[in-house]
Symmetry: C2
């Protein structure tokens, strides 16, 4: 379970992968496995893996304590093989680092 | 506060707007105002507004009870002026509808 709360002060990475629909499950499995390694790195908060309804996109919505922690992960030798594998399966990917500014939720939603 | 939980069964819209950095705040304000209308529509669960660190992107991570509820909102006469205004401020936008498949969180994170 992941909580989105602007006052937590995390950085949010939204990485959108374009993928051949028949390889979407393979990419999800690889990102899931990569997360088992990356989740132990300093500053990791969460990773949330999504697949589009048309299976042409996979998105990781990830929270990091700081931009520095996120960038240290990118350079970490244990992360790099996973990152390269994901890049090889995807047709392209667009990682964008955000701040969460506002959250509007229906009260009582799960 | 928004909770990401695959077992909730929501559909997730990630809408990524490309924007001139000097118009990012204007777009955020417009999306925030639009959410005051849209949050009252059936099936709305949450909207979460993000701005990229370089201010070239604004992203809305939104949860809906179903694809049908989301599509009904798009056609709703109260939503359409807001959607047109956002499209006019942004250089482009890419709405993609996802299912949340997996969540990995550090225990005890805020």
């Amino acid at each position: 379970m992941t909580v989105l709360n602007p006052s937590a002060g995390y950085r949010t990475l939204i990485n959108t992968f374009t993928v051949e629909p028949e390889r979407a499950e393979e990419l999800l499995a690889l990102l899931s496995e990569a997360t088992q390694t990356i989740r132990r790195m300093p500053g990791f908060v969460s990773a949330n893996l999504h697949v589009s309804l048309d299976r042409r996109y996979v998105a990781n919505y990830a929270q990091w304590r700081s931009q520095e922690d996120f960038e240290a992960m990118l350079k970490h030798p244990d992360a790099q093989p996973h990152l390269r594998e994901a890049a090889a399966i995807a047709s392209s990917f667009t990682p964008i680092l955000y701040d969460l500014r506002e959250t509007h939720s229906v009260e009582g939603a799960a």
